[in-house]
């Protein structure tokens, strides 16, 4: 193992890791928005919205994220959507994880005991009032851990945008391999940085989950 090489290149990897973190944060934020909208659609009273929500989930989950990114980045210009690689990465990854988050959020909402809705409605609350005051506060607590699983997957998933040449961690590792011919060291270094980011995120989610637990 070429330790000297690692010491020489790691600052560049950290710089690239910052791009990975930015991609993660922005795409997860977009994913949460898509997930909230998707779950609302899937649980809507309106059949058309339920259909749109279900279609979103099945199309996105039924195709590889890589293909989705390629359609957006390479196919986009053909239909007049011109995005730089980073923006395409954020949108592609965000819309993708949003489909998984749709199901996570929907699952947490329907996991809240039916009796809670019944009690709220019996007191005279409307569907929306019951949802906001009784169901969602409980569902939010239920969805933190499973959303953590989605977030974990998404951080690793940012590696895909190397394929549309966003200069993030994986792309940087590949670039240094091309000049150093040391794939073992380079991928190991990249992997360790992913591990640090994901461990820190996991710890933050566990902390949040404990903090909002119903005592």
């Amino acid at each position: 193992m070429d330790v000297e090489l690692l010491l020489r290149v790691y600052p560049f990897f950290l710089e690239a890791a910052l791009v990975t973190v930015q991609l993660s944060v922005l795409s997860i934020a977009l994913g949460l928005v898509c997930g909230a909208l998707g779950a609302s659609a899937r649980l809507s009273q309106l059949r058309i919205l339920r259909f749109v929500g279900a279609a979103y989930v099945s199309v996105i989950r039924g195709t590889p994220a890589l293909i989705q990114l390629f359609i957006l980045y390479f196919g986009g210009p053909q239909i007049g959507i011109q995005l730089d690689a980073f923006t395409a990465g954020v949108i592609g990854l965000g819309v993708n994880i949003g489909a998984y988050m749709t199901e996570t959020i929907r699952g947490a909402i329907i996991a809240v005991d039916r009796g809670q809705t019944e009690a709220a409605r019996t007191l005279g609350m409307s569907r929306g009032q019951a949802m906001r005051n009784v169901i969602l506060p409980q569902a939010l607590r239920l969805m933190i851990r499973p959303l953590g699983v989605n977030i974990n997957a998404q951080i690793k998933g940012t590696a895909l945008v190397a394929a549309i040449s966003v200069v993030e961690l994986t792309y940087t590792a590949q670039r240094y391999i091309a000049s150093t011919y040391k794939p073992f060291e380079m991928f190991l270094l990249a992997g360790m940085i992913y591990l640090v980011i994901i461990s820190a995120t996991g710890a933050a989610i566990a902390w949040l989950d404990r903090r909002v637990a119903i005592r």
Partner: protein, 263 residues
């Protein structure tokens, strides 16, 4: 309540259920039930599981809508045929007048006892925080739990939870209270404290419809008992008649099973 009293009131019944029927596909759960409950009257509904008594109770506030038939609360039809938007507004208003207590309490676990009670009055009756707090304190005194006002539901025993659930329902100042097997999920030693609260409520002339498995309680507290089986009211009468001298064989056989080993 005596006949003269109800005649003096001069009004129609508090609750009037006309020909209530409910089907799930081909299964008939309720087969044409009629029930009139006077103001201040306490009616027990007994019967074997699957007899439709809970479904019937839940039809009264339209939690389980009927397939056909009418439910009236005084001069308002609870299950009025309306467009879904109008119906939502109508039913939310009507339900404020019909308190309901569930077998599994259904307290809101993320809210304190105080918040459980004040949430709906503050939101729906636009009470100020002080007014709502006063109401919560008043209702908690009534059920003997004022010292638990800032507890979370998870810190309460089953009996205490159910008493809070009763206080929560009472805080909306309903005209009628529905009890759906309110003590069935409780450990035997906790049943009495809930029965005590219900008895007090009965003495304050609350109109009550009580679905119960507790024959002793039905006999002591209620003015009238309905025995249901197979989605129908098999027999109906005063507790004395139903429990001591039922006319129907099905009632007798049900009571034999349920009274065995008691007293």
């Amino acid at each position: 309540m005596s006949t003269t009293e109800s005649e003096m009131a001069g009004n129609g019944p508090m609750i009037d259920v006309k020909n209530a029927a409910k089907r799930y596909g081909t299964v008939e759960v309720l087969r044409g039930i009629n029930l009139q409950v006077r103001k201040g009257e306490i009616v027990a509904v007994i019967g074997p599981s699957g007899s439709g008594k809970s479904t019937f109770l839940r039809a009264i506030n339209n939690l389980d809508p009927l397939s056909s038939g009418e439910v009236w609360l005084e001069d308002v039809q609870v299950n009025k045929p309306l467009t879904s938007y109008q119906y939502e507004r109508h039913i939310n208003r009507v339900r404020q007048d019909i308190g309901m207590v569930f077998q599994h309490f259904n307290l809101f676990p993320h809210l304190s006892v105080r918040q459980n009670i004040t949430l709906a009055p503050r939101m729906l009756k636009r009470l100020s925080k002080q007014e709502a707090d006063g109401l919560a304190e008043q209702q908690l005194r009534r059920v003997g739990l004022i010292d638990r006002i800032d507890f979370m539901p998870s810190q309460l025993s089953g009996g205490q939870k159910q008493r809070v659930a009763i206080a929560r329902a009472l805080a909306m100042q309903p005209k009628v209270m529905l009890f759906d097997e309110a003590t069935s999920a409780l450990d035997p030693e906790l049943v009495e404290e809930v029965n005590f609260v219900m008895r007090q409520l009965a003495e304050s002339h609350m109109t009550m419809i009580i679905v119960t498995h507790e024959m002793g309680f039905a006999q002591d507290v209620c003015d009238r008992v309905l025995f249901m089986d197979g989605g129908m009211v098999v027999e109906e009468g005063s507790p004395d008649v139903i429990f001591r001298n039922p006319s129907q064989e099905r009632t007798r056989s049900f009571l034999r099973k349920h009274l065995k080993g008691r007293n």
